[in-house]
Symmetry: D2
Subunit: 131 residues, 4 copies
């Protein structure tokens, strides 16, 4: 599991008085920074070898400005050329939202999918969700 | 079908040189304004009767800053208390991304789901995707 | 004058029920696209020759989700290596916010300021505010 | 001084490969949360008694995705009905950007400016910049 603390921003609220849906893709993306660093420790974009092809979100309860949010991030599945990451947003011990993204590993020049090398798979597997 | 033209913003690009994933939830949300107005013509938040419970996105090709994007929005399915909206982002006649959201109709005070009144269903049905 | 119509997005509202301050920098940036195209018609980032060094905003009245906003953009001042752009956000014939940004023209490789060529100055001058 | 650590988000980069200008208003706003809590500990929007009327930003150097940013926030000036806050964004011991905002204290019902009560002035003064 990776954890990322989020201090909600006033501009991330909406007219209903709670955190707006469109903030969650940004929060979950921030929580993936350590996963990108597994593949690309210097975050050198010229060698970028990962692309996000799918993302989804389920909203379970309202999230508020006032209190810190913790994003818990797991590796869900590892395929040959892609892997799935799951996210949970917790606030005051309540799971407020969940999400999943699918990332493809590719050759940064040809943009063709590549088999994920074992050294990366091993590191990803350390972050499977434990029951 | 509803259509919404989007002029991409420079801040919506990312370090890979194309439009960043997190812009699409905002674009698709903008494209849903006319659907919210079906239920709530004055966009009066004190009477808000719709809540988004799920959203998902598939990225098919890179989207660029330079050219206008057209968001095409359809009603996908209408259930008893919820309905599904689908979105497509087109740029230069290429479908760059798609998405779906699920919206629940509820009592704005009790926050309980309600059956969608027929008058709204009729208006939504005008926007089913035609083959 | 350049004009850009903005359809406010729900996620651009905040918990006070109107458009949040942080949306305006994004709106004004979108309104500058035609100015960037004067210098760089293809928006080719490898040849980017402009950099924003200052921006400021004054909020005069609340802006609402419901109605379209028009951003009016003028060239304010042209110096040797920099120029100033001013923006106004209008909604329902009321000036809601204003802003200014200072842009420096530079050599895209050395990142040193350069004198703005006369051909660009001429085009910029067409967009001075008329009394 | 208030300090707020920021983990830059990939979506906050732009096509030039560094953090985009429009991220800074959001970062500085997040850094003001403790100031809002001085006036409104529960962040209850129905009693909101502060409004931002001006904001400005100066960009001194490029900010990168890779490393954490620290926002340092000071109270600059306290007037009768308004006060000025200044912000600095530091990354790797380099000051990358600065900003200022002007906040007006008002009656949350009439929206008229009010004299700032001494109890708040005292708390604000603890955060003046020391030489």
């Amino acid at each position: 599991m990776f954890t990322q603390k989020i201090t909600p921003r006033f501009g991330e609220t909406d007219a209903l008085g709670h955190i707006t849906n469109t903030a969650f893709p940004c929060w979950f993306e921030q929580a993936r920074n350590p996963i990108f660093k597994i593949f690309n420790p210097d975050l050198d974009f010229n060698k970028l070898n990962l692309i996000l092809v799918h993302m989804e979100f389920d909203f379970l309860a309202e999230t508020f400005l006032k209190d810190e949010v913790e994003i818990r991030t797991y590796i869900d599945k590892i395929g040959n050329t892609s892997f799935t990451i799951s996210h949970e947003a917790w606030q005051n011990d309540i799971k407020k939202a969940t999400g999943k993204v699918v990332i493809v590993y590719l050759n940064s020049e040809t943009k063709k999918p590549l088999s994920i090398p074992d050294k990366y798979k091993t590191k990803l597997k350390e972050h499977f969700k434990k029951d």
